[in-house]
């Protein structure tokens, strides 16, 4: 029985296992040092995770994998073009771009949501085609309207005739690395101000609404925030925080310390002060695991990687923030409604939930997050291919999510991050492996494209297969799974078009 259970678990994770094996084999074949792979990988995690995480909300709301994030990416790119033209630079320019992209993404998300409500059950194929359609409008905007209708006098951005935007826009002097290079000190400072503002605002609103205010709690929070801020004025801490990148080794050590402190504090709080039952075994297991991870850092090969890779702190904080946002959202009333709608529209409707509205909200969230994700991507890459940067955003993000073990109906933060790691490892090493094995980097390149579309088709087919097997020979659900499969095969069919 137990053995059967393990087999079932392994079968559940078949996609992940397949890709882990593939990754290991290609890394070996590519003959690249691990430090190089790790460094590249952490760069790509910072670049792409946000986009992949933006896919989770629509999956939970039952709208499948949102190929419509391409449209969010377009909103970001329009904003990037405008701020570049106006000459805003640095983190200020980045924030302004985000601010500009957001209302556009909200509007686009609303429209996409409206459309998807008319095409319930075939959102994926609808989103895929919508992406191509939107690309046409995007090209019209950048090739003709900018310069042709709206006069833009900027020889650096526009092609010689003055109508149409150049093929690539260099962001080196504007927003390149603007988010990655925010010093930790600034982050702490901003965090402090946000906490103070939140406490004050919360108290004010409560006063206006004539609700009791917990002054003691507010005061304690303020003092704690102040104390943390004060610590940054200690010279040693200050010099440590002045950097904008964090050595991976220190990040790991910091993480272990936080886990240990948190577990022990929680244990003490529950056991000693609240006198509740605590799962001692679990606490102990987590602590032991943390110590083990610390021990692993002493293995020379691992140590080498850890002192080689430097993480852009702010970007990683944004990704962590989005993970937290996804988790917290699902605990709200809105999140619960989204999950209900995702599980059954009929039941949701009968329970008085406005299904269409909930779906549109999910779409707006996803589109806005995708636009921010694309901004993070662009500021890290540093060059903006005007007509190409968005085209494969949807496919790559969805492929990554599926590689992580997510399905059309279920996706978690963990699956998203794992998917990014596996998919991009393959992305980094596949061309190199191709070069090593066949003496031709192009074969690896082909393999990379093949993988990204193949995995979408494979994962969708596996999903449909599982669904058919579960439902049995009853005809009732067959059209739905056929639809999912149709989405998959059309995605792979489209691959022929774009890859060629």
């Amino acid at each position: 029985m137990n053995k059967r259970k393990i087999m079932d678990q392994l079968f559940e994770q078949k996609v992940v296992i397949l890709f882990v094996i593939l990754c290991v084999l290609t890394i070996i074949a590519s003959k690249q040092p691990l430090t190089f792979v790790a460094n590249e990988l952490f760069t790509r995690i910072a670049r792409n995770s946000f986009l992949v995480l933006a896919l989770i909300i629509p999956v939970l709301a039952g709208m499948g994998l949102n190929f419509g994030i391409v449209i969010g990416a377009m909103a970001a790119q329009i904003a990037v073009f405008l701020t570049t033209h106006w000459g805003f630079v640095g983190i200020g320019g980045f924030l302004l771009t985000a601010l500009l992209a957001t209302p556009m993404a909200v509007f686009f998300g609303f429209l996409v949501g409206k459309l998807f409500n008319k095409a319930k059950g075939s959102e994926m194929i609808c989103g895929l085609v919508l992406g191509y359609f939107a690309d046409g409008l995007y090209q019209l905007l950048f090739l003709f309207i900018f310069g042709g209708v709206i006069p833009i006098n900027n020889p650096k951005l526009m092609i010689a005739t003055g109508v149409g935007v150049k093929n690539t826009i260099d962001l080196k002097d504007t927003i390149k690395y603007s988010l990655d290079t925010v010093p930790m000190l600034t982050i702490v400072e901003i965090g402090f101000y946000i906490v103070v503002a939140a406490i004050v605002l919360s108290a004010l609103i409560k006063l206006i609404q004539k609700q009791p205010v917990n002054w003691k709690k507010s005061l304690i929070s303020l003092v704690v925030a102040g104390a943390v801020y004060a610590v940054t004025f200690i010279p040693a801490v200050e010099s440590f925080l002045a950097a904008d990148r964090l050595l991976l080794l220190w990040a790991v050590e910091l993480w272990i310390a936080i886990v240990l402190v948190w577990q022990i504090a929680k244990f003490l709080w529950l056991k000693v002060i609240r006198k509740e039952d605590v799962n001692v075994k679990r606490t102990l297991a987590i602590c032991v695991a943390a110590v083990l991870v610390y021990a692993i850092t002493y293995i020379p090969a691992v140590y080498e990687i850890l002192i080689y890779v430097r993480l852009p702190v702010m970007t990683y904080l944004c990704i962590a923030g989005l993970c937290l946002f996804n988790t917290v959202l699902m605990r709200t009333r809105l999140g619960q409604n989204m999950r209900t709608v995702g599980q059954s529209r009929v039941v949701a409707n009968a329970a008085g939930i406005n299904v269409d509205r909930t779906r549109i909200t999910a779409m707006i969230f996803s589109t806005v997050l995708a636009s921010w994700g694309q901004l993070i991507f662009l500021q890290n890459v540093g060059t903006f291919s005007t007509y190409g940067a968005h085209t494969q955003v949807g496919q790559f993000a969805i492929a990554a999510l599926l590689v992580g073990g997510a399905s059309v109906q279920k996706a978690t933060n963990k699956q998203a991050i794992l998917g990014v790691v596996l998919f991009h490892t393959l992305f980094i090493v596949a061309p190199l492996a191709g070069k090593e094995l066949f003496g031709n980097a192009m074969i690896g390149e082909y393999f990379r494209v093949f993988v990204s579309y193949g995995v979408i088709a494979l994962a969708l087919a596996m999903h449909a297969w599982k669904k058919v097997a579960k439902v049995g020979p009853s005809t009732e659900f067959a059209p739905a799974s056929a639809g999912a499969l149709g989405g998959g095969s059309s995605a792979s069919a489209a691959s022929g078009g774009t890859a060629g």
């Binding site: 917290v328 009333r333 809105l334 999950r339 009968a350 329970a351 939930i353």
Partner: protein, 549 residues
């Protein structure tokens, strides 16, 4: 209260004591009157049974009570509804909910992936406010899972269900799901009236017994219950009063104490048997128990919603045999299983030869034809012409309508056309021509096309499922008359499966009533209404199976 007393219009002095009063309700769906002046009164804390055959108008009445969109998008209804003596306008399900009217659905409105708590609190979650929710709105409040769990536990305790509120609903037995659904309605504050829509249909006997107990408990707390069911024994056991509907009309309201099973059965069925078919001259058929056309032994069909759970039946050669019963009891499963459309097991013999039920088309090759109840789904190729529809089965099964050139077979257009035109004339199919698309025809004419296709196969045995569903009275008569003619002139064995008892009683030689997937009884068309009513409501189950043959 005073002005109410002053207006003695209608003379209803008991008005105040009803929690729900629906008066003179009429409803029309595109010219078709499905409710004609129906009234329903329910007192607080009573269990009121709402009875009637399929199509009597029970679900339409409940849809009106819940303000379902299907009512209001088709022109609303006539009549008045009062809750606690106050006239109300219910135009959305939310409004019904606010008035304290709840429903325990027949098909569960539960989400398998959610816990019991989440399902009980669906759409009505408890939550704490926070900074963001104060700025943006209530939808950003964080759920208070502990409080939700406490409420769910209280609701479960009320109905006496021992179940952990944090369990997922997906793995629960069907009977428990029903109770979770009830717990959800109980948990709603201010619930006054609960509608149970055939709640025992999916339950085992012991679960059903528990459900009835629970209903009594709920009623004793002052919540009124409308209990929709076909099962007379259940009504006699728990209900205080009942209303019977028939063909959209109000038949009677009775107190249970003053009535009997036989009277209720008569009220449900009781209608003059309209002569749908003229007598076709003398009956020269010889029917014999030795000459069996179809014989079923231990026959089981897994047709969802129409399960057949073991039927033994012999149908004589040359007779018109009726299979009746209420919807969902399994009568439709019998022909569908024989034709191989749903998985079936057991022994099926056609003219003495055993059928291999696992092979699709096996029945067709034994000269058995079938006119499906699902005309638009299974019966017709909607986007193809009438002539193609008429001949395609025969082309497939009998290789008719082909020119044969060696091993090549080509479609014989002229033979097809001749045959189709003949059929159109014979069955009086009203169409613009044999090339018209089948999907464009009216229901009655579509049914005739289905019949024409079945006849093109030259069958010896013809199964006709719900031959008159959704077609007008003129077409109905023609179809039935044609079936009788086929039987009398060609000696074809015809098996009619129908929910309309009147039509079975007007054409059939014998009628089998199916109840709960089993044969309840085989009756003569002129047996009493009470016998039919009892058989359909499962009251005549004992020994019924043995009488087959």
């Amino acid at each position: 209260m005073n002005n109410r007393k002053a207006s003695d219009k209608g003379g209803m002095t008991l008005e105040r004591s009803y929690v729900l009063k629906m008066d003179n309700i009429s409803k029309e769906y595109s010219g078709n009157r499905v409710l004609k002046g129906v009234s329903l009164q329910v007192r607080p804390g009573e269990i009121h049974a709402l009875m009637g055959e399929n199509g009597a108008g029970k679900s339409t009445l409940m849809n009106i009570l819940f303000g379902m969109p299907v009512i209001h998008s088709t022109g609303g209804f006539e009549g008045t509804i009062e809750v606690d003596g106050q006239p109300v306008k219910i135009d959305t399900p939310v409004k019904a909910m606010e008035l304290g009217i709840g429903m325990v659905h027949q098909e569960f409105m539960l989400i398998p992936g959610f816990t019991v708590t989440e399902n009980i609190k669906i759409g009505r979650e408890l939550s704490h406010p926070n900074l963001v929710s104060r700025l943006v709105g209530k939808s950003m409040e964080i759920l208070d899972r502990a409080a939700m769990k406490k409420d769910a536990q209280a609701a479960l305790d009320t109905i006496g269900l021992k179940l952990s509120p944090s369990q997922k609903v997906g793995g629960l037995p069907v009977g428990y799901m029903q109770f979770v659904e009830i717990a959800r309605e109980i948990d709603k504050t201010g619930i006054k009236l609960l509608v149970f829509d055939e709640p025992t249909a999916v339950l085992t006997e012991s679960e059903a017994a528990r459900l009835l107990e629970t209903m009594k408990v709920i009623a004793s707390r002052g919540i009124a219950i409308i209990f929709i069911t076909h099962r007379l024994d259940e009504v006699m056991e728990v209900a205080d009063s009942l209303t019977v509907l028939r063909d959209g009309e109000f038949v009677a309201r009775r107190e249970i104490a003053e009535t009997s099973v036989v009277e209720i059965a008569e009220l449900m069925i009781g209608r003059k048997v309209e002569k749908l078919v003229e007598d076709q001259g003398e009956d020269t058929r010889v029917l014999s128990d030795d000459n069996i056309a179809v014989s079923l032994r231990n026959y089981v069909v897994h047709m969802p919603g129409e399960l057949v759970k073991g039927v033994d039946l012999d149908i004589r050669k040359g007779e018109i045999f009726g299979i009746g019963g209420l919807a969902g009891q399994g009568k439709l499963g019998i022909p569908n299983g024989i034709m191989g459309l749903y998985t079936a097991s057991g022994e099926v013999r056609v003219n003495g030869e055993l059928l291999d039920l696992s092979r699709l088309g096996e029945a067709l090759h034994h000269k058995v034809a079938f006119v499906s109840e699902d005309r638009r789904g299974v019966g017709l190729l909607l986007d193809e012409s009438i002539e193609k529809n008429i001949v395609f089965s025969a082309m497939q099964v009998n290789n008719d309508f082909f020119h044969k050139y060696g091993w090549i077979r080509l479609h014989n257009g002229s033979a097809t056309r001749r045959h189709a035109e003949e059929m159109v004339k014979k069955l009086d199919i009203r169409c613009t021509g044999i090339r018209q698309m089948a999907g464009r025809l009216s229901g009655g004419n579509q049914q005739k096309v289905c019949l024409a296709r079945a006849l093109t196969l030259n069958p010896e045995i013809l199964f006709v499922s719900e031959p008159t569903r959704g077609i007008d009275i003129g077409a109905k008569k023609l179809v039935l008359e044609y079936l009788v003619k086929l039987n009398r002139e060609q000696g074809m064995t015809v098996i009619v499966v129908s929910s309309e008892l009147a039509e079975l009683r007007s054409v059939c030689d014998r009628i089998a009533i199916v109840s709960d997937g089993r044969l309840a009884s085989i009756l003569k068309p002129d047996d009493s209404d009470a016998d039919f009513g009892l058989a359909m409501s499962g009251g005549l189950k004992q020994g019924g199976g043995q009488r087959a043959g």
